[in-house]
Structure formats: C-alpha cells, structure tokens
Amino acid sequence: MAPVRDRRTGFSRRRQYGVFLGYVLAVAGAVVGAALLVASAFDPPLFAGLRMTAAATTAPVSTLLANATRSVADVPGAVGDWFAVHARNRQLAEQLRHQHQLLTRARGLSYENRRLRALLDLRERAAQPVVAARLVSSTAASGRRFALLNAGRFSGVAVGMPVRGPVGLIGRVVETGPNAARILLLVDPESIVPVRRTRDGVPAIAAGRGDGSIDIRSVYTTNVRFGAGDLFVTSGTGGLYPPGVPVARVLRGGRDTVQARPFAVPDTLDFALVERPFMPMPAEPGR
C-alpha cells in the first residue's frame, strides 16, 4: 500500500485543534479505563447495576435464540424416536423387570431410614426452590466463567442463591437484574464449594480451574489419597449450598489436590433450579 499523506492537517487551525483534541481524548479514555478498573478491583459489585441493565436487554434476546436452537435441536431426536420406538419399548420393559427388585429393596430401606430418623429426632431442612429458569448465554471470550440466567429479581432471585441443574450443582448467583441474573459457574477460578466424598465423608474443597474442570483439594493437612472415580457432593458447610448435591467426579487419582469433572454440564437445553441459601443469610452488621 502506498504511503498515506492524509495525516497532515494543513493550515486550518480548526482541523489542527480537532486532531489534537482527538488524541487528548484518546489518552483520557485510557486513563478513565484505568480508573474504572481500579474501582471495580476494589469494589467488584460497584458496576453490577450497569452490567445487569445491559443483561436485562440481552437476556430476552438470548432466550429467544436459545428457544429457536432448542426446537431445531429437538428435530433429529424426534425423528430417531419415531423409528426406534419398538426397540426402545422392549429395552425399557426389560429394564423395568430388572429394577423391580431394586425398587422393593429401596422401599424397605426408605422405610427403615424414616423410622431411624424419627428415632433420632432429626430435623431436616428441605431445599426451597425459588424459580426454575434456563441459562441462556455465557461469557465465552473472557477468562471468567459467568452464565446468564433468564430470571431475576422479579422472580425472587437474590445474590448468593445456589443454582443446581438436574444432575448436579451449577453455581451461585452473583448479580441480579430485573429479569436476568449472573451465575458464577463451578468451573470459574474464583468459585469455591465445600464438598465431601460420598464414600466416607472426607471433607474437601472444590475450586474451579477455568478450563472446564475442578480442583478437589483436601482440607486435612495429612496427605489424603483420592482415587479416580471418587464422587463428591456438597457438604453444606458454610450454609450456602444444601448438602448432598452432586458436584464432581475425580478424573485421575492422586494426593491432596486432584482434577475432577463436574457432573452438571451447564447448557441452554436444561433447566437450572435456583434455591434459597441452605441457612438464612445473617443480617449485615450496621443495618
């Protein structure tokens, strides 16, 4: 490309000042950016209102797009079901026969469990769902792992509420707008969930890695052995997440810190259930 000579401003004072002002404003923009950055580093929820105002307009758009993709994605499944219905029927009948005896045993156990709990006079806190909504979009280009939920303050969603999917924990609410909420996913590097091993109740911490998996860190100082395939559920420590929600499965065995894969793969196809915090939030001091 030939050199461009249109950088010159000529003799027009007006144009010279205009160009100069442009550069001054450009530098000022960078300074303002740095100031905003410092402000949001010291007080992260400071600009939540602005962000959620933007989200209030984008969430309905994302919801529409998600509904459209879902209806398109359902088509191959529906066609497959139509053809495979006989084979599927046979398979399910067989499965039902297999599981009948398991069900009988489970009924017995459930009855015994109820009886023993009554004996112990345990008081159970039931999870209280707030709303069932869908995750509609996410921060695909940023290092943070946030997702947008298409339900907000109008539906009773508040900051700090845990969010779970059909198969496991998804994350928790960090910012709310009128009709949208920002969810911190389990895999975000700043997300930390207290968990315990299903087998023996060894406590651990599930911290996001930012690459789609989770670190399971032991809480004990002594070295703890984690095996591949160990299952972890929320322990309820801290009172935010209800205990017993599946969180992750260990990929490779190791000591103290191992990599695990979360159960809930959040996508736009499934429901996300927002629940109240397991224990009521303590009142903020000074209010």
């Binding site: 050199p3 404003l25 450009a26 923009g29 740095a34 695909a140 940023s142 290092g143």
Partner: protein, 171 residues
Amino acid sequence: MSADDRNPFSPPLPPEQARAIPWITVMLASALTVLPVIAEVPLLPPPGLLMLLAWRLLARFALRPWAAAPLGFWDDLLSGQPLGSAVLLWSLCFLAIELLETRMVYRDFWQEWLVAAVAIALCLLAGRLIALPRAIPDWPLLAAQIATSVLAFPVAVRAAAWIDRKRGPLA
C-alpha cells in the same frame, strides 16, 4: 478506496450514518456473547476487539482515536470482564497503532495482520491477568484462544472491508 460496489448513481450516505456504521458493527460484534452457548472454556475470539482492530487498520478514519474507550465500555458491559478492562486495553491499542503508523510508511496486509496479532495477544493476556489476578493463567488454553483469535482476524477484516465498500465514500 474502491467504491466500485456501490451504485455510482445512488446518493452518498449522509456523513452521520456513514460514521455510525463502524460503531454499530463493533458494538454488534461485542454483542455476540448473547448467542445461547454456555462455554465452559474461554476459546471464543473477542469479536469486538477483532472488529475494532480491523476497522482501525483497514480504514483509519472510520473510527476516531477516542472511539476505543466508549466502544470498550460497551464491550465490558457484555463480556464479563471487570468494567474498565476493555476501555483501557482498547484505548492503549489505538494509541500504540497510532505510534506505529508514524514509523511504518508502507504497509500491506501481512504487516497489519502481524500488528493485529500482537495487539490481540497482549489484550487477551492482559485481560486474563486483570480478570483473574490471583490465578495462574492456563497457558495452553490462553495460547489456543490467541491462536483462534489471530486466525479469525482476516475474517473480521473481510467483513469490515465489505461493509466499507458498501457504505461508499464519505459525503
């Protein structure tokens, strides 16, 4: 600039509209995050930044030098980065390119791609450090995102060039 694609007999766009088009395209690119995809891994190229660099390098006067800050503000609202990150980084990109242009007289597309590649890599790295100051960056993942972004840059340039041809010469 070639204005061949535009019908020479149609009246030129009013200057306000012609100026608004680059802004609108960058803002639409930033808004790509509304697509209903729940990404577990940050691999998507930053579309707003790509579009911004494409406009800046292809048609220098399409965006004013100070346009990076407001466009970055819009991107920050949608991208999930801490507010101010794109305002700062995009403004610095514009200033750096401005400085480079006083040095480099002759330019071709490969040089522009190189400039954009360096800008993208630095922006992604700085953005990651700003978003997660306490975590060690996941280098392979970051390298993959930088690679996809650098490879996606010519697409952004194509889009910007097509729009630029269609909008015709400034009145």
